[in-house]
């Protein structure tokens, strides 16, 4: 006991981490919040502006539009992949895994997961070529099967661009919920399924009344996690559309990037990113609460 008291405390092991986080996370994010209360071009001295930037923001249609597009991204990256992922995971687990072997199931799972490991910049290159108006693969395919009238400038038409980007994001995101749900399904007690089967429940009823309630913790974590990812989308928009045409696909992260580095309204960009940060951290806190509660229930 006396030896242990002389020895350095465990807190010492936190010091490198604490210093690194102070320099890279804490100081920059406080600076960012500070800058949001100023007018600044990135050079010279920032000029105090109080809440000016936030007032401008409230009246800025481009800002509101970018947040509306964020909601579209939440649909494309959280709602649709979660719903599709549930059905696919249950199908892979119930039908393929049980009757055709787990190897077949994991090969199929791998196909769905592949886009998740692809750098978003590369996914963007692939899709901007597929969706290209003149010599893109999609328009060519439509022509080949006699649906030439459906050809479009998928990323260049202001009415369509947002839907095209959403489609790409579904493709990118789908693998994540699928893998998490398949892992979750292995946890479900087989006796519950057998009981449902004895009662003569159809597959859909069993899916609805047994599977879904059993993996609810996974569903809520995936939904929140994907929602946060959707609010952060930057790379896809940068590579696919640069927020265009005419702001039709702009999102808050790209909007703040433009303010920082293209129009050099650094104060304004900081205000946009501060609002985004507040929303994301609020959601993160909810996620954290949910997760601790789920873990408590497990114990």
């Amino acid at each position: 006991m006396s030896r242990q008291q002389r020895e350095y405390p465990y807190t010492l092991f936190l010091i490198p981490g604490a210093l690194a986080f102070l320099a890279v996370i804490v100081v920059p994010s406080l600076m960012n919040t500070g800058i949001s209360f100023t007018h600044w071009q990135g050079v010279g001295t920032p000029e105090w502006a109080g809440l000016d930037n936030y007032r401008t923001l409230l009246d800025d249609d481009a800002f509101w539009e970018s947040f509306r597009h964020s909601l579209a991204m939440v649909v494309a990256m959280a709602a649709i992949p979660t719903a599709l992922g549930l059905v696919l995971a249950a199908g892979l687990f119930d039908f393929v895994g049980k009757h055709f072997g787990s190897r077949t199931a994991s090969v199929l799972r791998a196909c769905f997961y592949l886009p998740q490991v692809l750098p978003i910049a590369v996914a963007g290159i692939v899709w901007s070529w597929i969706l290209a108006p003149e010599d893109g693969a999609l328009n060519d395919l439509l022509k080949a099967v006699g649906l030439g009238s459906l050809r479009h400038d998928w990323l260049g038409d202001p009415d369509l661009a947002l839907y095209s980007v959403m489609g790409v994001m579904v493709w990118v995101q789908l693998g994540f919920p699928l893998v998490v749900f398949m892992a979750g399904l292995q946890r479900v007690d087989p006796a519950l399924y057998e009981a449902a089967e004895l009662d003569g429940a159809s597959w859909w009823r069993r899916f609805w009344h047994v599977t879904l309630p059993q993996i609810r913790p996974e569903i809520s974590v995936v939904l929140l996690w994907c929602t946060i990812a959707a609010l952060k989308v930057f790379g896809a928009v940068y590579v696919l559309t640069k927020g265009g045409p005419g702001g039709a696909t702009n999102v808050p992260s790209y909007f703040s990037f433009q303010s920082f580095f293209e129009t050099t309204q650094v104060g304004y960009g900081s205000a946009v990113s501060t609002v985004l940060t507040v929303i994301i951290l609020a959601l993160a806190l909810v996620a954290l609460r949910l997760q601790t509660r789920a873990e408590d229930q497990e114990r």
């Binding site: 350095y8 996370i25 800058i35 750098p119 910049a121 940068y238 993160a284 806190l285």
Partner: protein
């Protein structure tokens, strides 16, 4: 009844899976066509032969070898640095059970969730001030911290369940805390640390915003940034675009094969929740 339904479900799932990988296949198909062939027969025809000049041209034009070296160097350094930092943090939190542990953990989670947009301008500005702008080192340092935020969270919960007897036994044998960490905790946790290294490597490889802002000169850019910037300039014709995409896809597929195995190993070791 039930047996009859299996095959349509399997068929539907296979079709869906093929649709998911179809873009990769079409890209591979078109990357090996000559521009003349592409404009004559369009994107859907099968290539008549292997035309590799497009890929070679693109490789040379963007100095792709250098981009690969940069990406490996940055992702590799970040993976190792972030793993070390995560281990130190998690040792204090998970085994040392320092005071205010839930708050410290919550801090790391929030740091991980923070959108990079809220860091990017100050990081850009500060790195210019200290002369680290447009260096690979700046990106490495920033991502070590960002990735370690997740690593600390995950590894703390793993170490929270670490068998106390092992630590106690080593302490009784006279090992100090530093020795217990490196000679007992780290070797026993090797599977989890392996999973973290792979995750960190792939995540850093795929990062876009911060490297885009921080790495301006051609010699420092990563694969992701170089490809993204080229695409943004809209200077590439269709065959070159496909060559670029193929060169971007190949490393990802290679990691994916490694990642698959590590993921299963990680789940088997009870590491990934």
């Amino acid at each position: 009844m039930r047996a009859l339904r299996r095959y349509p479900v399997l068929a539907a799932l296979i079709v869906a899976a093929v649709l998911m990988v179809l873009p990769f296949l079409v890209v591979a198909l078109n990357a090996v066509k000559s521009p003349a062939e592409y404009s004559a027969n369009g994107p859907l025809s099968l290539p008549k032969g292997l035309y590799l000049d497009g890929i070679a041209d693109f490789w040379e034009r963007v100095d792709f070898g250098q981009k690969l070296i940069n990406s490996v160097l940055i992702s590799g350094s970040v993976a190792i640095g972030a793993a070390v930092l995560s281990v130190l943090n998690a040792y204090a939190i998970g085994i040392g059970r320092v005071k205010g542990r839930p708050w410290v953990l919550a801090f790391f989670v929030l740091a991980n969730m923070l959108p990079q947009e809220a860091l990017v301008y100050p990081v850009y500005y500060l790195s210019k001030e200290v002369g680290l702008y447009d260096t690979r080192l700046s990106v490495i340092l920033v991502f070590i911290v960002i990735q370690a935020a997740f690593g600390t969270y995950l590894f703390s919960s793993v170490l929270g369940a670490f068998p106390r007897e092992i630590v106690e036994a080593a302490r009784i044998d006279g090992a100090n805390k530093w020795q217990v960490l490196w000679r007992v905790v780290v070797p026993v946790s090797r599977p989890t640390i392996g999973v973290l290294l792979v995750f960190f490597f792939i995540w850093t490889w795929n990062e876009f915003l911060l490297p885009l802002v921080m790495l301006i000169s051609n010699d420092n850019q990563t694969v992701s940034v170089a490809l993204g910037v080229l695409q943004g300039q809209r200077l590439m014709d269709a065959t070159m675009t496909n060559a670029a995409a193929l060169l971007g896809v190949v490393p990802a597929v290679i990691f994916f094969l490694i990642f698959q195995r590590t993921l299963t190993r990680g789940i088997a070791a009870g590491a990934v929740k």
